[in-house]
Symmetry: C2
């Protein structure tokens, strides 16, 4: 009923969609549609078949509810198990799950798979970083699941507690829920002497770990084409862009039952890297790591960029904490030495093409985050 | 190794314990022992067999860690499924789980069973009572899992939001984690037009739902004797008391693998009601609902009582929110009319045998709780 209405509103005759060639005639689904469908206006199965819900957003405005059938939970677990398999996480591992449990999908997503392989699970959830560090030490955590920026906070607290983060037992980290730059990755890996894996996933497609994973060769994100059709479109025109060109990821779920979205605009920005079999042996298409969200794009004097790009430059100077204030002008505030200001300014001019205002603050001045970091402030 | 040491410290030769007749020669295990064993000093299986941990306490002092093997998780699920079976909770139900998820055992305990029967699970966890109410309405919650005092808070917030709590779709509530009086139960059931079930359980024995349940006939708590040996002892002498006499519950787990505690002093106060088959058909022993914890016992001029006893009297006057301040004297503060003060004073004198100071406050003056209520303040 939901899609019948959307097709009608867009004057699309579903019977005209006969092959993948005119797949792009199908109208997009947006977050707005899902908000309007609250609470369960969009389900494609009887309510009795629903076994759980998770939620996206909800702090402001209408929440988006994602319902699951038993088969959907199995699909979630299965795709997460692929990630575990690729990262060589086994029943011998001690897995500390730091994303929150509850309606947000992070905690349970990792939990379903960690529980399925009989690993030693520490279901600690969000917050209380001192306890997180203590448990890592006391139980010998080998795998940390977290939002991408949380390890930086953990490293700080561990140091305050007298631990060298590189001596903590953690060997692997599955990090996601927000864009994080390659330079930030290098910092995290150096700090902890651990290997990090980028784990994409969005609640609307079933949660963390469902859409793809990164292999240890780091060629990009391998996207599970047996589960989702992945397109990259121009955010303005909605046209599919050429491989290699950047655009917004649009997902169509092939295997989900309760809410199988068609051409869902994710807001995530990426580009197709290649479609052939990867060196690691994975036969699915590969896209670039996510550079940002369309919402986070900053347009300043004709230059388009994402917080990711600024982070990439700052992190190369060892900077871990920063904030981008976008008002009439753009100001970048970071924790670090005054001495490196001219060099950073030069890099930003050179790579991003604008002259930022820069401010160096003493260490510890900026807010720390235990969940997703809020680094972009619009004025 | 853990029990070898305890036996030695108590000069008990384990080989002398040959039958249940001298079972009471075995020394007690206490919370203090578990604290000292942090993190995993007490496990009886190799660390590789542990699949998760839960935690008790930890806000003050050394936390108590409860480790689980796969079989222990199955035991937890199985005992909770007994409760669901007795309460006639089925896959058709919409189960809203309001205790916190994470290391505290409440959320996951309900979750494992609710998930296993393919019910519609709302894994919302603790807090945000407005959202709790909203979700009850929007998803048609039929079963609410909560700490015993939380429904009172939910009722208040529902009223503020314009809902009559009795018109909410909730039909059954599984309430536990704190002692709650029969009078309070009557209030909750009247307020919501729902049936409540008392669900005991403590982290050290595997979490909520493991040790027993109450059947709809409400003869008391049926304790799973195929899973635990349940004794009631005199808290001072440690001697087993006669059936019918009140004392501290001591548990011995028969089926748990990772941490099978022997004669664990729970701190819970109850009495054996009867040992024969109950009218409902359950063949296990039956104890009184838990009246309090030994820690919460108040001794005032030779009179021993529990907050439960005060609650029982206050609730019979429709009072839902109260606080007991124990300093040199005892003062009971509650939300209600001044006019009923003399009657309450008379009842307390009559039933509990002391003259309390009483203070009536306007509605909304006292703190509200989303987890366990803190009603006893020692000064």
């Amino acid at each position: 009923a939901f899609y019948r209405r959307i097709f009608k509103e867009n004057n699309v005759d579903p019977s005209s969609i006969k092959s993948l060639d005119n797949f792009n005639k199908i109208p997009f689904t947006t977050k707005q549609h899902l908000r309007q469908a609250y609470p369960l206006g969009i389900i494609c199965v009887p309510k009795e078949k629903i076994v759980r819900i998770q939620m996206s957003g909800g702090t402001t405005g209408q929440p988006v509810i994602v319902p699951y059938t038993r088969k959907d939970v199995e699909q979630w677990k299965k795709t997460m198990l692929r990630a575990f398999y690729i990262a060589e996480i086994t029943s011998k591992d001690v897995i500390q799950i730091t994303p929150a449990f509850g309606l947000w999908n992070g905690g349970f997503g990792f939990h379903f798979a960690a529980d399925a392989i009989d690993a030693f699970v520490i279901p600690i959830g969000a917050g209380n970083t001192r306890n997180q560090v203590r448990f890592m030490v006391d139980f010998g955590t080998t795998v940390l699941c977290a939002t991408a920026s949380y390890p930086l906070r953990i490293a700080e607290v561990a140091s305050e507690m007298g631990y060298d983060p590189s001596e903590l037992p953690v060997q692997k980290m599955l990090l996601g829920a927000e864009p994080w730059s390659d330079e930030m990755r290098k910092q995290i890996e150096r700090t902890f002497d651990a290997k990090t894996f980028d784990i994409p996933g969005l609640t609307e497609m079933g949660g963390v770990g469902t859409v793809g994973f990164e292999c240890p060769m780091r060629n990009g994100l391998h996207m599970w084409e047996d589960q989702y059709i992945v397109e990259i479109v121009d955010p303005e025109t909605g046209e599919v862009v050429d491989d290699g060109e950047e655009g917004e990821i649009v997902y169509t779920s092939l295997t989900r039952e309760a809410m199988p979205l068609i051409r869902y605009r994710s807001g995530e920005v990426s580009a197709v890297k290649y479609r052939e079999r990867s060196e690691c042996g994975i036969e699915h298409m590969t896209i670039k790591r996510i550079r940002g969200r369309t919402d986070d794009m900053i347009i300043y004097r004709g230059v388009k960029f994402y917080p990711y790009d600024v982070e990439q430059i700052l992190a190369s100077y060892g900077i871990k904490h920063y904030k981008i204030e976008v008002k009439k002008d753009i100001k970048i505030v970071f924790e670090g030495e005054n001495g490196i200001l001219p060099e950073i300014a030069k890099d930003i001019r050179e790579y991003l093409g604008f002259n930022p205002k820069l401010e160096a603050l003493p260490f510890g001045s900026l807010e720390r985050f235990e969940g997703k970091a809020k680094r972009l402030v619009r004025g």
